[in-house]
């Protein structure tokens, strides 16, 4: 399975949607619901997936997160986001 390209537009797969918003301590937490379960997301994972709106490109998402986390190594950020999206596509929660 190929990783996303810079021009890919990641989005939630059909029938996968956001569930309730909750707080875990001081941190914001949201849930993704899909056919056989649910995943709680917070921190970076949440930041990435909230940008997977089918409009932003993979390249734009990386850029936005790099700006936000300034100091991080750009190569590492790209690899991390790519791996995260690949895993979710494998589960059929994300398409790109």
């Amino acid at each position: 399975m190929p990783p996303p390209e810079d021009s890919s537009q990641p989005r939630l797969a059909a029938g996968c949607r956001w569930g309730a918003e909750t707080k875990a301590g001081s941190e914001q937490e949201r849930m993704i619901l899909f056919p056989e379960g649910a995943i709680k997301l917070q921190g970076t994972g949440l930041q990435i997936l909230e940008r997977c709106d089918g409009e932003r490109t993979f390249g734009q998402i990386i850029e936005e997160l790099q700006t936000q986390f300034g100091v991080a190594d750009p190569v590492k950020i790209r690899a991390d986001i790519s791996q995260f999206l690949e895993q979710l596509r494998y589960k059929r929660i994300v398409d790109y």
Binding site: M1, A14, C16, F34, P35
Partner: protein, 377 residues
């Protein structure tokens, strides 16, 4: 504190236009006039949402046999639940599907009995196959998750590769390749359904190759059937740990088959609240945790992984619901499974579809092979 249940299994009716020989419904089906009303179900969904459940799985029988299914789906969605319709597709038209999606349906799981029309209709005891194919194309016009479910067994497992290719061109996000589980009608028909070891091993290879080939496009869910496994399945994720099942007449069960267990009294949603039933009823507490466990489970390292396996299977094969699941190679009663396997591996291959003009004719011609699932009164 007992954690909240994760999902509700709503058996909204036991009526079904199909008569699948592997059906795991109880032999004693809930009657039509005992079925819960629309309002009763909507109240159940509200209670489920408040109890923290995330998913409502609509099953049966055939949920589409309920004329109020659209209202039920809307009720579950309003209560904050993710809605999943497990269906044969019989009774679903293009306009009804649209209405269900508009009401908030998130996921549809459509069953197929085979890739070959004659064989599929023969297993289902109904001419359903062509309609299911047509419906698959209509489903893809909607933005809902689509799973194709295929139950495999001795009669169809030899052409699994062909069946996977067939499902692939229906373009679902998921395919579930489910080995028959031997409860209800399937247990009655076990000799016709249990595959040989060679059949199983071929099937495992076929599935592994397909998983690799389809990664990122179609996710395959498949589990080794427990009769051939070394350890039992963690049935329902453990008794009273994750799931609540409500049958058509409102009985609340920890699993599909629990009603066969003698000495257990199941509460009815008409009389008690779900939260009470989950936390305090004797039926949900009976096999929860580890207190009830016999040896070898009690001192086994795997007891928190498989919870001693399935209580109903223990009852059906040993007569004691509190025994270790005999599918476990460590069970004192494992010989009951071994003898079924010995028989499956020694007897002749498979039967062939017989043509028949009607279901009654099919029943007569298949009488020496298996019993078809009937319908409730």
């Amino acid at each position: 504190m007992i954690p909240n249940p994760l999902a509700l299994i709503a058996e909204v009716t036991h009526r079904c236009p199909l008569h699948c020989i592997y059906c795991s419904n109880p032999l004693e089906l809930a009657s039509v006039n005992s079925e819960l009303s629309t309002e009763e179900w909507i109240d159940i969904f509200q209670q489920s949402g408040k109890l923290g459940m995330l998913h409502a799985h609509f099953t049966g029988g055939e949920p589409l046999a309920r004329p109020d299914l659209i209202e039920l789906i809307a009720g579950a969605r309003t209560a904050g639940l993710y809605t999943n319709l497990i269906t044969s597709g019989i009774g679903l038209t293009e306009s009804r599907l649209k209405a269900l999606v508009d009401a908030g349906l998130d996921h549809i799981q459509l069953s197929f009995q085979d890739s070959r029309q004659d064989a599929a209709n023969w297993i289902a005891g109904a001419k359903a196959h062509a309609h299911k194919i047509e419906l698959s194309h209509i489903i893809r016009h909607h933005k809902i998750a689509f799973t194709v479910n295929l139950v495999i067994h001795r009669q169809n497992i030899d052409h699994l590769e062909e069946m996977i290719a067939f499902i692939e061109q229906l373009a679902p996000e998921r395919m579930e390749i489910a080995h028959t589980q031997y409860y209800g009608w399937a247990l009655q028909n076990r000799a016709a359904l249990l595959p040989t070891r060679a059949q199983l091993e071929n099937a495992l290879e076929t599935v592994a190759a397909a998983e690799k080939r389809l990664a990122g496009h179609i996710r395959i869910d498949s589990v080794v059937p427990d009769y051939y496994a070394r350890f039992p399945k963690a049935c329902m994720g453990g008794w009273g740990r994750r799931l609540m099942l409500i049958n058509p007449s409102g009985k609340v069960l920890p699993c599909h088959a629990a009603e066969v267990i003698p000495g257990l009294e199941f509460e009815n949603v008409r009389k008690k609240k779900l939260e009470y039933i989950w936390r305090q009823s004797s039926s949900f507490q009976r096999f929860r945790g580890e207190e009830w466990m016999p040896e070898p489970c009690r001192s086994c390292d795997r007891r928190a992984e498989d919870f001693g396996g399935c209580r109903c299977q223990a009852l059906l094969l040993t007569g004691d619901a509190a025994a270790t699941d005999p599918a476990c190679s460590l069970s004192l009663a494992h010989s009951t499974v071994e003898s079924a396997l010995a028989e499956a591996n020694s007897s002749a291959a498979v039967s062939q579809p017989v043509p028949a003009a009607s279901f009654v004719q099919l029943q007569q011609r298949a009488a020496h092979l298996w019993s078809y699932r009937t319908n409730p009164e």
